[in-house]
């Protein structure tokens, strides 16, 4: 492709973002949903695990407390009508904790405090309460002793502060928090990875759309993810319709030009015949203007046809080995009569061997257009140089001794239907340079327009 491609790309890219209404980034939205979800999950995880751990830890303390109460209660006996409790050392020993939790106990006989700490008796088996300024967990158990006279109800409450428990819970909380944070970090990293992978597919598609040449309307054939298939399908469909409609309009133009050209030729021959017969100068002038207009129309139609042909053939180049020197010699020979009519010398400098693998018809068309242009703008008694060069690369330049291109317009002259502002009375359609440019592009080259040091125009086809 030609070296001007990146500029075309940039232009397309700019157009795309400028013309599309953007509603937030899909990537950000995805990442936000995934990260937010992970955060919510991490927080839920923290509270669930912590709650569960608290429950288990509390259950552990309850078990020990009730074992302690049971072993105290177990030692209760009735001796001589008196309740005696010779409870084992282990009953309180089992309540030793790392945090040195305080221990309270109370032994009741039929609701009256027998020994231990007052104010602990509670009906429930387990309860938390505040005792002596500390939160304690209390376990209560009771038993009926059958004596000689009346049954005695003995109940034992054992209480313990919760320092070790809260220490354990804090440790678990810290661990779970670290775990949750780790989970969150990992999930965030994963979500970013997932997001960029997903968005990567879109980006690849975008790149391949962007990278296409302006004329390329062929369907996308690279595999795309299922979710993107409808989009690519629609895009392909759109492009094929666009392609079709472009072709239709080109066909239409070619057809129209063709249809117009034949009647124009007929009209011209009538006009010429009439011109020969008429002697009134006014009528002759009118007829001359008429023939001139017909020529212009005919030429425009011819160039439209040429352009359509170039466009068509550019997509399906029929390449063969072309000797540019032969081709140019032939062209120059054919155009010399026209040049002579204008007192212009057509000089061909084709000494270097110039072989090219290309479409001869297109190349001939392009070169003829360049020569046509030169002939049109060359003043009388001047020379047109056609020179073949092989260094640095194969190129053909056509230079005249006319006024040259206007510097401000040079960049757009090769666009369709653009004519120089100083084209004066010259007949032209504005397609000549376009055709030359398209042919050069189809052969991987380009058209360079410059002015010669002496002021004339110089058009170079560089391959």
């Amino acid at each position: 492709m030609s070296k001007s491609k990146p500029c075309a790309d940039l232009a397309i890219g700019l157009i795309m973002t400028r013309d599309v209404t953007v509603s937030r980034s899909l990537r950000n939205r995805l990442a936000m949903i995934l990260t937010g979800g992970a955060a919510v999950l991490a927080i839920v995880l923290f509270f669930v695990v912590r709650g569960y751990a608290a429950q288990i830890a509390q259950q552990g303390q309850d078990n020990i407390l009730s074992a302690s109460a049971a072993s105290i209660l177990d030692s209760a006996v009735l001796r001589d009508g008196q309740v005696e409790l010779d409870f084992p050392y282990a009953a309180l020993s089992m309540l030793s904790t790392d945090a040195d939790d305080r221990v309270f106990y109370a032994i009741y006989e039929d609701g009256a405090l027998l020994s231990g700490y007052a104010g602990l008796d509670i009906p429930n088996p387990f309860r938390s309460l505040t005792y002596d300024g500390a939160t304690v967990r209390v376990a209560t158990a009771s038993r009926t002793l059958i004596g000689a006279n009346v049954p005695r109800r003995v109940s034992v409450s054992v209480a313990q502060t919760q320092d070790a428990l809260s220490g354990t819970l804090n440790r678990i909380s810290t661990n779970v928090a670290v775990f949750g944070a780790g989970f969150f970090a990992l999930a965030t990293a994963l979500s970013f990875w997932a997001t960029s992978t997903t968005i990567g597919q879109l980006r690849r598609l975008t790149t391949s759309v962007t990278r296409r040449g302006p004329q390329d309307l062929s369907p996308f054939t690279k595999p795309v993810p299922t979710e993107m298939a409808p989009l690519v399908g629609s895009l392909n469909n759109l492009m094929s319709r666009l392609d079709q409609s472009l072709k239709q309009s080109e066909d239409f133009i070619a057809e129209a030009a063709h249809r117009v050209r034949t009647p124009l030729a007929t009209v011209r021959s009538y006009a010429e015949a009439t011109f020969q017969r008429v002697e009134n100068p006014e009528n002759r002038d009118a007829l001359r203007s008429m023939m001139r207009a017909i020529d212009e129309s005919s030429r425009a139609a011819g160039q439209l046809l040429d352009h359509a042909m170039v466009t068509f053939r550019a997509e399906n180049l029929e390449r063969s080995d072309v000797d540019l020197n032969d081709l140019l010699r032939d062209l120059v020979q054919r155009m010399t009569p026209i040049a002579d009519m204008r007192d212009v010398d057509l000089i061909l400098d084709a000494t270097a061997p110039a072989h090219l693998h290309g479409d001869p018809i297109l190349l001939q068309n392009a070169l003829r257009n360049l020569l046509d242009n030169a002939l049109k703008y060359a003043p009388a008694d001047s020379r047109i140089m056609v020179r073949v060069q092989t260094i640095p690369s194969l190129s053909v330049d056509v230079s005249d001794e006319g006024r040259g291109f206007r510097l401000g317009e040079i960049d757009m002259l090769a666009d369709r239907f653009v004519r120089g502002s100083d084209s004066g009375g010259q007949i032209g359609s504005g397609l000549g340079l376009t055709i030359a440019k398209d042919v050069a592009a189809a052969h991987g080259g380009r058209l360079i327009l410059t002015n010669t040091p002496r002021g004339g125009a110089c058009a170079t086809l560089q391959f």
Partner: protein, 334 residues
Amino acid sequence: MRYIAVLTLAFMPAFLFAQPWEDEQLFGSNTSQTLRILSSTDTSFFAPVIDSFIAARPNIAVQYLVTGTADLDDVFRQNPDQFDVVISSAMDLQLKLTNDGFARQLPSITHPDWAQWRSSLFAFTTEPAAIALNTAAFDGLPTPRTRQDLIQVLRENPDQFIGKIGTYDVRQSGLGYLFATQDARTSETFWRLMEVMGSLDAKLYCCSGDMIDDLIAGQILVAYNVLGSYALGRADTQDTLTVILPSDFPTTMMRSALVSKSASSPDLAEAFVSHLIALQSDGAHGVFPLPPLVGAQDTSARASISLEPALMTYLDTLKRQTFVREWEEAIIQE
């Protein structure tokens, strides 16, 4: 206002307690800030510690009050705001004081786990219960190494030992009760020894000091469960005593200190406890008469009685009634 309060507090003990202290001594002449220490340890053991404490703080005074372990517990429970530091050899009573919320937590003091409880109660000595003998009386008799040996010697020589045996009255002495209950918990031998001692009309003492005094004076020939530190302290100078640490099972306790939650000079009290445990742990033993806290490296040397809530077991009213009754049945044989 504050000045008046300090003054009032400083003079209140004098008005409040018509308490017959075993000993009462004021260290330092400056009475602007007085640290009041309630202790069961003889003044002579603590004087060097207090002197070294005051040496670095010339603007304070230390009032050192001595009473028996059980009495100490009563006095302190009734007036916890009258004392700053409580020092006792009765670990069980000290632990119960702490458990009942009388002690201030001192989280800035670092002490090994096994030698402290709730960062409130700090042990600073390791002291075994010993059998002290009158050396002359055992001339020609095998020296008992275990409780079983002692039982045998006493049984075989009732005429020589009748009325000449001494041990703690567990009803009066908190430390004696602690030793007795721990002995009983460990082995049945204790009960048999008590029965033998009862049959020999044992004398009962409130304190180690008295027991050793009588031993030296020849009033008694055997003292059981006397504090090793007290006995050894005198054995150095008196050839009359032989101190035996029974080899069947040792009963070892730790003397401990706590700072009253309602102390009027809590910072000073904390500084004192910190000073005390630093002295007792760093190996400067020769200087101070108190035995050191051992077991930091050697786990087996640690006290056999550990600081844990189970110490409160025998303080239970019912347990105590049962134990004292059984003890009385064994030792008091009318």
